[in-house]
Symmetry: C2
Subunit: 257 residues, 2 copies
DNA sequence: ATAAAAATAGAACGAGCGTTCGATTTATTA
DNA sequence: TAATAAATCGAACGCTCGTTCTATTTTTAT
């Protein structure tokens, strides 16, 4: 059996479009990891684990399982969530659940896989920009958009990393470090080109990353009160406020004085 | 039985000194929540739970239990840590463990209690400064010092909040929000007094808080490579670097331009 | 409509959990 | 030093967990 870790082939057929992103609405038009196709992707990328053969059944059941996992484990944690809880919440029998997974841990692995894929897409998108500043700005925007649409997924991976096999735990840490390094490199490029001024590129990079994390980790902060069924327009407004706040903050740290 | 939550009486006998803090070394001289006395405090504050009567035994055993809890749950999480793990790690029998606690959850409650107490001390300390800027700077320094000495405690509470009873969960969230509000109010004071310039005091406050959290949450970031037995001098150096970085960052956001 | 294949159901199993409790050892007191 | 109290021990209990497995139902193909 191939480990989930190895199956990551982010560029495999997924197109993220090439336009400059300026709104959540336009992001939604191109981002592949959402709606029904999200669970189709989960199904395809875990075909070695999922015993159910017909996509029609698998996609529906994976959605049930993952949605219920987010709901239950957000309050009680993945370890405390029993598969009987899951069975109750989804209305599926044990047998059905176990035809989508081979063991409980698989659920966490599938989630981790999608978040890693999303991170990979973020990186790819940023590389398309030409100017240094635009690269930074687009990285921030794309990350905020993606982590908004996939909020429960990002949240889960952050808090339940310890439920993954060690290899995947290390991979998750690595992704965060890569994110910091990537911002740091871009900032350093700007400094070298005379566009920015700072003597602590890493600190600025790190600040960006923790502010991005804060967005999906703390929906309860008054910064972005996460209501159940908030309208797209309101979401657009909030996310624009926050991305503008981050971008202005970074500009102050890099450009002023 | 009194709930752990109600027992918090931070000012009860604990003196935190009144000098301006400028180094970890000087902090260590006055901070009460460290060394042996830390576990004496744990014992006293949980006398309604701990069945062991003689402090001589209780303090030693509480230290064993909590130390082992930090070690085991840092990698596998509190839920996965069985009391048999704990028994093996501490060399204590089940009976001994259960004379310090009445149920597993008590361990988490005791830790939460100390972190809350530490947060309360931080707030008290900051209020002693006279100038606005000094209040902010001292809050940052005190928080970094305290969360360095109590790193496993802070880390545990952040990741294991969900193991606590709901009432205590809410209390933990509240403490973070209070921290943000407190910084925000101080910044706003500065703006009103004409000392600072910003149109987003909350964003700056929030940035400070997430950077402070980052310090104890991510010891593996190259920012502060957390070695097992790092010398006090090295720790002093690292913590000074980081606090200077935060303070300079805040200064740029509030003072420049 | 019938036969084959796939999906679903839920009872059953063994392992490991948190917790209890009486026996035993160690410490304190007179 | 004997008597009492406190601390420690670890086997035992009941329960819930992840997982398995066979019978049954539903879907698909002929």
């Amino acid at each position: 059996m191939t480990s989930t870790l190895e199956i990551i082939q982010p560029s495999a057929g997924l197109d993220i479009g090439s336009t400059e992103l300026t709104s959540l609405t336009s992001f939604i038009e191109t981002f592949p990891l959402q709606g029904e196709s999200l669970y189709s992707i989960v199904f395809k990328r875990n075909s070695d684990i999922v015993q159910t053969q017909k996509a029609r059944f698998a996609v529906v059941n994976l959605e049930k399982i993952l949605t219920a996992t987010f709901a239950v484990s957000a309050t009680s944690g993945f370890d405390r969530m029993s598969l009987r809880d899951l069975s109750r919440q989804t209305g599926m029998s044990m047998g059905s659940i176990y035809s989508c997974i081979s063991k409980k841990e698989d659920i966490a692995s599938m989630i981790a896989d999608i978040v890693r894929l999303s991170s990979e897409l973020t990186r790819q998108h940023a590389m398309q920009s030409d100017s240094i500043w635009s690269k930074i700005e687009q990285s921030i925007r794309f990350h905020l958009y993606a982590s908004t649409l996939l909020q429960p997924w990002y949240f889960f991976l952050y808090f339940e990393t310890r439920c993954l096999p060690q290899e995947q735990q290390r991979e998750s840490k690595k992704i965060e470090l890569d994110g910091i390094k990537s911002f740091e490199a871009q900032i350093q490029d700007g400094v070298d080109a005379g566009e920015f001024h700072t003597n602590d590129a890493r600190m600025v990079a790190n600040t960006i990353v923790v502010l991005l994390e804060d967005w999906y980790l703390k929906p309860w902060k008054t910064l972005s009160p996460w209501k159940a069924n908030i309208s797209i327009e309101q979401q657009e407004k909030q996310i624009n406020n926050y991305s503008q706040s981050i971008i202005e903050l970074v500009r102050k740290l890099l450009v002023d004085s």
